[in-house]
């Protein structure tokens, strides 16, 4: 101790350093908000406003194929002029044509049915994982996440070879003698259900798993100890406690599935109507930008409510995590 003479040698007095740098520190702190905020405003929010604006424009054979275009050089009056040219014609067109109405309805129906099946299949998997020995849980978790890392397109593509009339599934079923004639699955709704359930299953399983894993198994034992039979204990204890996971999982499947393009396009064939595909065709085949914008606006409006639910659930989870 003798050599470590650490008497209170007065180090730098606090007065010596003025308070410059605090505002700089505050600014650099703020930059963390400002930069991503600005980025998202410009590349996420503004584009939506443009979509909305173009959905009110007329189709024109030009590049870009709509009018009025923004012309900032025309100043405020020019801008006002262009506003006066806006019309709701595209929306009237959408509501008039049963094609669009049907596409919206069938998108929602297909997404809802697929979500239901994803829950039905995902729940036992998540439950089994949550009840698995703690040592294998990380491995199982990785196995659920792994397909998510492999290309969506590839996973959908893989089903074509399985589902088509001369595909592997039919070969197998004919070989076992269950059927004589190949089943027609590809290019039907069934193929879309399979595709969506398959592609989005990890999104369902992960939130379910995290809800179920947190659950204390002794709650079930307590319920049974108090005279509750297993099935009823499931409905009265496990199910309500898994509810946040169920809600999050269903929204994570339902919302993107509603606007899905790749799955109906590759597995659903030309007969299937889904709004994502309709939008794609309007845009790439018909080059009708105003109408595809209107399609997007209505799709967005339909999804705003479930999205807000999702965000609320996220915010709640965040609060609890704290």
């Amino acid at each position: 101790m003798a050599e470590t003479t650490l008497a209170t040698a007065p180090s730098a007095s606090p007065a010596a350093v003025p308070q410059q740098g605090t505002w700089l520190a505050a600014l650099t702190g703020r930059l963390v908000i400002i930069i991503p905020y600005a980025w998202l405003l410009i590349l996420f929010l503004v584009p939506f406003l443009i979509v909305f604006k173009i959905s009110l424009s007329q189709t024109a054979i030009a590049m870009p194929p709509y009018s009025p275009t923004f012309d900032l050089s025309a100043g405020i009056t020019g801008l006002w002029e262009s506003f006066r040219e806006f019309s709701f014609d595209n929306y009237l067109w959408l509501t008039d044509d049963p094609l669009y109405v049907n596409a919206y309805v069938s998108s929602v129906v297909i997404a809802a049915i697929s979500t239901f099946f994803a829950l039905l299949i995902g729940f036992p998997i998540a439950y089994g994982m949550a009840r698995a020995p703690a040592t294998v849980r990380p491995l199982l978790l990785m196995l659920v996440i792994l397909p998510f890392w492999t290309s969506f397109l590839i996973r959908v593509y893989a089903w074509i070879g399985i589902l088509k009339p001369e595909g592997l599934l039919n070969q197998f079923l004919i070989w076992t003698g269950i059927i004589d004639q190949p089943l027609i699955i590809l290019n039907t709704h069934t193929a879309i259900f399979i595709g969506i359930v398959y592609s989005y299953l990890p999104f369902m399983v992960l939130p379910l798993y995290s809800a179920l894993e947190k659950m204390d198994y002794s709650l079930i034992e307590a319920a049974q100890d108090l005279g509750c039979p297993p099935i009823s204990a499931f409905w009265k204890i496990t199910f309500p406690l898994a509810m946040p996971g169920i809600v999050a999982g269903c929204l994570l499947v339902f919302i993107p599935a509603t606007g899905e393009f790749v799955i109906p396009d590759l597995l659903g064939g030309s007969q299937t109507l889904m709004i994502g595909k309709t939008l794609w065709n309007e845009f790439f085949s018909n080059r009708d930008w105003p109408v595809s914008s209107a399609v997007a606006v209505i799709l967005l409006l339909m999804l705003v409510v479930p999205m807000m639910f999702f965000q609320q659930a996220q915010a709640k989870a965040q609060e609890q995590g704290r």
């Binding site: 101790m1 470590t4 650490l6 008497a7 209170t8 007065p10 180090s11």
Partner: protein, 379 residues
């Protein structure tokens, strides 16, 4: 010379009117939204003092420490360090260092790197840093652990690293937030004395936050007892224990019997208190209790004598019966139910192995105590 408790060292600048306090809290208030964590609090701490902030969780003690370190700013009032107003000075420019409750050791750095971190921020030359780190490692006896990462250390070793890191910069003041909270009981007792030695040898001012009264009593020169963001009492451990100023402090520190009554008679120093059942208590050091006021007579269990026969010559004697008793090895605690129904705790040191005349449940018993064995509390 008469004194309260036993004196550890003759260090008492707070009794010297000429001494200048080193750290001053001046009418400090801190609000978090609607919650007032610290309420118009004033406090003075002297240089080289080992000062403890004691209180239950949520009493505002940690907030005081964090305001001193610079992590929170007072809503109103000021904090002075060596005459300098600390307002607006960010934590990284304050000449105080803190030892965190969680130790907050940087997990990706070795023990050495952790200790050197603060020195590097100062821009100290590398050779000096190495020398200082070596000194610090020696000080906390961790020389052979220099290259280890925090997760490769035991709890006690981590505590030492945190300590070494926080004193490496030779701060004017060391703040310790529950420094021993994460250690087990045995290690805690050893470390208490090590901390005291360190503080003496380095000549630093220590401000320690704790909820453990024993820890505060053992280590501190003075203790501030806090409740709801206010100071209840600032005094030496002995004063806090033997002369609490309020019912709250008396109850908070150690065990106490609270005999409520009214002051029947008051002379210059002595007074007579009449209990609820009419029993009279004669006391000295009546403080500021005036005749007719409602007061509590606070007396510690070890100051009460229990006997099976009525004692002669005691100033205060009360009759009762043994209601409950607990044999704790080194002492026995008696719960005596007085005639008026009140239960009084009394503890007796088992200084001999064999008791001639043991007291048992429901035995008739007398308690007795001296007139100066307790204090009269008006608050």
């Amino acid at each position: 010379m008469k004194s309260l408790g036993s004196i550890r060292r003759s260090f008492s600048p707070w009794t010297d009117p000429a001494a200048k306090p080193y750290i001053v809290f001046e009418n400090v208030t801190k609000k978090f939204g609607d919650f007032t964590a610290v309420n118009n609090l004033s406090l003075a701490i002297y240089e080289r003092e080992f000062f403890a902030l004691l209180g239950a969780s949520g009493c505002g003690k940690s907030t005081l420490l964090r305001m001193l370190a610079g992590f929170d700013e007072p809503t109103s009032g000021r904090i002075l360090l060596d005459g300098q107003d600390l307002r607006g000075i960010p934590p990284y420019r304050r000449p105080v260092n803190m030892m965190f409750q969680s130790y907050a050791l940087f997990p990706h750095m070795s023990v050495e790197q952790n200790i050197a971190f603060g020195l590097k921020q100062e821009g100290m030359p590398k050779a000096d840093i190495d020398k200082r780190v070596a000194d610090m490692l020696k000080l906390v006896k961790l020389e052979q652990f220099a290259k280890r990462k925090p997760h490769q250390l035991s709890g006690g070793q981590r505590q030492r690293v945190a300590l070494a890191r926080s004193v490496a910069k030779r701060p004017k003041v060391l703040l310790l937030d529950e420094p021993l909270g994460a250690l087990d009981k045995k290690l805690r007792e050893e470390t208490q004395f090590e901390l005291m030695d360190l503080q003496q040898n380095l000549g630093l001012t220590f401000v320690v936050v704790t909820h453990d009264q024993e820890e505060a009593m053992t280590m501190a020169d003075r203790i501030a007892i806090l409740d709801k963001g206010q100071v209840m009492q600032v005094a030496t451990p002995a004063e806090v224990y033997e002369a609490p100023v309020s019912r709250f402090v008396a109850n908070f520190v150690g065990n106490v019997n609270m005999l409520e009554g009214t002051v029947a008679e008051r002379s210059e120093k002595t007074a007579t208190i009449t209990g609820a059942s009419g029993a009279q208590i004669r006391v000295e050091n009546a403080g500021d209790a005036t005749a007719g006021s409602t007061v509590a007579f606070a007396i510690r269990p070890e100051k009460i004598k229990v006997s099976s026969r009525k004692p002669d010559g005691a100033a205060n004697v009360m009759e009762g019966e043994i209601y409950d008793l607990a044999y704790l090895g080194d002492m026995t605690v008696y719960h005596v139910r007085l005639v008026d129904g009140q239960v009084v705790k009394a503890s007796a040191l088992n200084s001999s192995r064999i008791t001639e005349d043991p007291l048992s449940w429901n035995d008739k018993a007398w308690i007795s105590f001296a007139p100066d064995a307790g204090v009269v509390l008006t608050r």
